[in-house]
């Protein structure tokens, strides 16, 4: 307690030098918490959005289906068997048939994925129910806002679509864009055209067939025959990997900031011990042991971190709260990563993350404060009292 009291007194007595070091260290701490909070928030939002828009509670894949092999789609389809039908009726599965096609918006040609889905499904957030209002009329299709922006299509536009059926025969028809939906998930938006399942099945000659089945959160069935069940964890791995990479990158930034702050504390400690030799000699003359003096100076250095945390809390808590309430705007260009990203990220500040950041700051400040103080153990008190340079 004595060492703590003396250390804080000396630290506060040093004035501006202390507060400069403390300010830099507090900025490093707040940036650390904010960055990690932002990435955790992004991760959570991306997970949630991808689950509700694309993967549900997991997916059953046809054995030949590979999302990264568009040429394999030709063969990646199979019959919906009785077990699957039962689960579809129970709303535990929804079939999605995927086929390749081309569209010709405003005279240009673009390759797209045609995806057929049941209008009555409610596992995914996709507004497929809108197809119900267009049965018997023109072939309805819905696209995402990114697709609409890229192709310059609007709601109500007519679009020529060409495809090949299961026998390889080309056909073409005109579709009506009946809805443009807003989603944060680019993988169900870019280059995709959604239409009623039965229509796509009829177009491609793949009656009662599907490519994948999206499961609800209550689905516990696992594989069905040769159809492989892919869990949400598996399907979200790409997002997790990207976030991990981002975290590693951001760690460099805040470790750099932390290093600058710690270097400042280290320099201050070295200078302090050099300038305060007379004081050190006086402490020893008054009856302090060398280890007590080392402790005071180490705590003085480490106390920078306590003050930094306090200062960080003063401006950091309101700032972090404000950002959590209002979100952090994200540029749309990040879509190109192919990962779900909302227009605004809501940061998530996990308690464990904050504690780890605090410990990192305190422990690292204590370590860099201790090393220069070892010099005190080698000091001659008689020379220190004279203020003689050692």
């Amino acid at each position: 307690m004595l060492s703590l009291k003396l250390a804080f007194r000396n630290l506060l007595g040093a004035g501006l030098r202390t507060w400069l070091n403390v300010s830099v260290l507090s900025i490093a701490f707040v940036v650390m918490v904010l960055y990690n909070g932002m990435l955790d928030g992004w991760n959570r939002q991306a997970h949630e959005d991808t689950i509700v828009w694309e993967i549900g509670g997991g997916q059953l894949w046809h054995p030949l289906y590979d999302p990264f092999d568009p040429l394999g789609l030709q063969d990646a389809h199979g019959l919906i068997d009785d077990q699957m039908k039962k689960l579809i009726i129970q709303k535990q599965l929804v079939p999605v048939l995927i086929s390749q096609g081309s569209i010709f918006p405003h005279g240009r040609m673009q390759n797209v994925l045609l995806k057929g889905i049941q209008p009555e499904q409610d596992i995914l957030k996709l507004p497929a129910n809108i197809f119900v209002n267009h049965i018997g009329k023109e072939i309805p299709a819905i696209i995402g806002s990114r697709m609409a922006s890229f192709t310059n299509l609007k709601k109500g536009d007519h679009l020529l679509v060409r495809w090949r059926d299961k026998n390889g025969t080309f056909d073409a028809r005109e579709f009506n864009i009946v809805e443009i939906f807003q989603s944060n998930v680019p993988t169900i938006d870019n280059g995709q055209l959604w239409l009623p399942l039965n229509i796509l099945q009829e177009m491609t000659g793949m009656e009662n067939e599907t490519t994948i089945l999206v499961a609800s959160s209550g689905y516990k069935g696992g594989n069905i025959g040769e159809w492989q069940f892919k869990s949400p964890k598996y399907l979200l791995k790409e997002i997790d990997d990207i976030i991990k990479t981002k975290k590693a990158g951001s760690a460099i930034i805040y470790l750099l900031l932390l290093s600058i702050a710690l270097l400042a504390i280290f320099d201050t400690q070295v200078l302090s011990i050099f300038r305060r030799q007379k004081e050190i000699g006086t402490y020893i003359a008054l009856g302090m042991t060398r280890s007590q003096v080392v402790r005071i100076f180490t705590i003085e250095g480490a106390a920078h971190s306590i003050l930094a945390l306090a200062l960080g809390a003063v401006y950091g808590i309101p700032l972090l709260y404000f950002l959590q309430k209002n979100g952090i705007p994200m540029p749309r260009s990040l879509d190109s990563m192919g990962v779900a990203i909302a227009g605004k990220i809501i940061p998530v500040y996990a308690f464990s993350m904050v504690i780890i950041s605090i410990l990192l700051v305190v422990v690292s400040a204590t370590i860099v404060s201790y090393f220069p103080t070892r010099r005190i153990s080698r000091m001659k008190p008689t020379d220190a009292l004279k203020g003689k340079i050692q």
Partner: protein, 227 residues
């Protein structure tokens, strides 16, 4: 009156390595100091006064010989034992006062007692008493930067005396003071010596201090030349 011997120095040498040879700062010192003495080590600069004072204060150890303080051999003390000896039994007064700049007068004097783990009430009582001895109770909340040289040295005396040590070692206490302050300081210390029976040992070459000494030990080139 027979004073109990509290410091005994026998065949004391202190050597420092210098280049390929050595410098002998103290040669064959044989002295003893009793309780309640008011003694000075006098001599020109470089005569070994401060070195001898440092050894008595267990801030340094002799190269040869014995230095016994309060019945303990300074050479055989551990760092902790040495610190404890200084904490409880020895007070220091330095030429440049060596006050702690971030603490006020009260806290400077109190510092020595913090190491003794006294209660806050006992500490306050002892500090105020000590400040009364030196006539600085009204300056208790002042910082060293706000005090004159004489006042700073009086604070140093109060700090040295607050723990009622057996020995006070004063190294050139009047060197940075004017004539009036020098006399005042030494008179204060003389009064404390008489009232509390504390042994005062000075290192000085100041005539103003010497006139108050009961005993003078003259040093030259590390040797006692006159007592």
């Amino acid at each position: 009156m027979e004073n109990k011997v509290i410091i005994r120095l026998s065949n004391l040498y202190k050597r420092y390595p210098v280049g390929n040879g050595e410098f002998i700062a103290l040669k064959n010192i044989n002295l003893s100091f009793g309780k309640g003495e008011f003694t000075g080590l006098v001599g020109p600069s470089g005569s070994g006064k401060t070195t001898l004072l440092n050894i008595i204060g267990s801030l340094d150890i002799p190269s040869d010989g014995i230095a016994e303080v309060m019945g303990q051999s300074v050479s055989s003390l551990t760092h902790k034992q040495s610190a404890r000896l200084r904490n409880y039994h020895i007070g220091f007064i330095f030429q440049t006062y060596n006050l702690l700049q971030f603490y006020n007068v009260f806290e400077n004097v109190e510092f020595a007692l913090l190491l003794q783990k006294m209660s806050a009430t006992e500490r306050r009582k002892a500090v105020m008493e000590s400040l009364e001895w030196v006539g600085l109770t009204d300056k208790a909340l002042s910082r060293p930067a706000q005090l004159s040289g004489g006042e700073c040295q009086r604070v140093a005396i109060a700090r040295a005396m607050v723990k009622r040590p057996s020995i006070v070692l004063a190294d050139e206490p009047s060197a940075n003071l004017d004539s009036a302050n020098s006399h005042h300081i030494v008179q204060t210390m003389k009064k404390l010596n008489q009232e509390l029976n504390t042994t005062f040992i000075f290192a000085t070459h100041d005539e103003k201090v010497m006139q108050y000494l009961d005993r003078m030990i003259r040093l030259k080139d590390g040797e006692v030349v006159q007592e």
